[in-house]
Amino acid sequence: MSPILEFDDVVKSFGRGLTEVRALRGVTLHVADSEFVAVMGPSGCGKSTMLHLAGALESPSAGSVRVGGRELAGLGAAARSQLRRNDVGYVFQRLNLIPSLSAIENVMLPLELAGGSHRNARALAIEALEQVGLDQRLDRYPDDFSGGQQQRIAIARAIVGDRRLLLADEPTGSLDTASADEVIEILAALPQDRGTAVVLVTHEPRFASWADRVVFLRDGRVVDETTSTAGSTVGSPVAGANR
């Protein structure tokens, strides 16, 4: 599988001189097509900064970030916007739906902004909403849906069309346990169902456990990661520690 997302020795600093904060200190991480990777680590370890760089919301101070083989550092503002509309979907903790648009209009929005026809956008939006388990009441407004359903609409909006990479930043943070489980199950199905690669930032081990690979960050560095091979931990030295 070719990598859809590549971080090579990425450094990201904020501020200068005495106030400089290094959020990332030489991160290298490759995410393959159709791979589900969870990123974990304590607050301030650089998890969200990684997603901002992957989504071209920020630029690295040093190193290389590539999406689908394209170097993001060289992209102008228009190309970055196009990347976010066409290739990379984002889901946040906050349910960022537009309240004055119906569920289906929210999902159609990125396609229409990209110049797609209304009819085609509607068909693709219905398909994306079906993927997240919503096929009814699509003309209702976000407030008519529960928090979990709103997050599912937000995921549909993030995957609609032909996007190959979904970035999810604590998408369960504002949800109850049952809704959070449903959202993670939907994310976990995307690589197999649509070939979408998913990068999930979370501090919950139970959600990270759905991923093919879990990467641990501390102080802006990748300190370890699990392997993506199923069953690799049988006979692990700490298996006995789990009582």
Partner: protein, 177 residues
């Protein structure tokens, strides 16, 4: 818990023979505790010796297997077990906890290395459990499901504890610099 309490619990429902007890014990424990039938009969002999079960041949069938039934004393013993709350007092000698405590004695950096490697392995273990869960039949039996849940939440608890250890170590480092 020992095999003894498990057999008493099964016999409180109705009399059973040794083979039935073996099969039902394994089923009730979600197949995580395999028994050999010799263990079952040894335990039944002790229970009979202590007056907690009685042994009998089924009526009109001399060739049938011996049936075991609970006595009133057996019911009392079982009732006492149901009401006994397991207590971790003094704290259990948890392998993970002790390892991290000793690692701290070798310095924060070493402790963080130990925490990281154990967290990675536990996360892998949790991933494996999740894969097993996803591979389960659509409607697995309740015992299997509950055993699986227990393994998952224990791994989560250990991971949370490692996170707390890391946060405490980071706080310590911050205070001393």
């Amino acid at each position: 818990m020992s095999v003894r309490e498990g057999l008493l619990a099964l016999l409180s429902e109705r009399p059973r023979n040794g083979h039935q007890l073996k099969t039902e014990f394994e089923s009730a424990t979600g197949l995580v505790w395999p028994l050999n039938v010799g263990q079952v009969y040894t335990t039944l002999e002790r229970l009979e010796r202590d007056g907690l079960v009685t042994r009998s041949n089924p009526a009109d069938d001399a060739g049938a297997q011996k049936q075991y039934a609970l006595t009133p004393a057996g019911r009392e013993e079982l009732a006492a077990w149901w009401s006994l709350v397991p207590a971790d007092d003094p704290p259990p000698r948890d392998e993970l906890m002790l390892k991290v405590l000793f690692a701290i004695g070798q310095g924060s950096e070493h402790a963080l290395t130990v925490i990281t490697s154990h967290r990675t392995a536990l996360s892998s273990l949790l991933q494996q459990r999740r894969r097993e869960q996803r591979g389960m039949q659509p409607d697995p039996d309740l015992a299997t499901q509950m055993v699986h849940d227990a393994l998952v939440v224990r791994a989560e608890a250990d991971l949370r504890w490692l996170d707390l250890c890391e946060a405490r170590l980071a706080g310590r480092k911050g205070n001393t610099t």
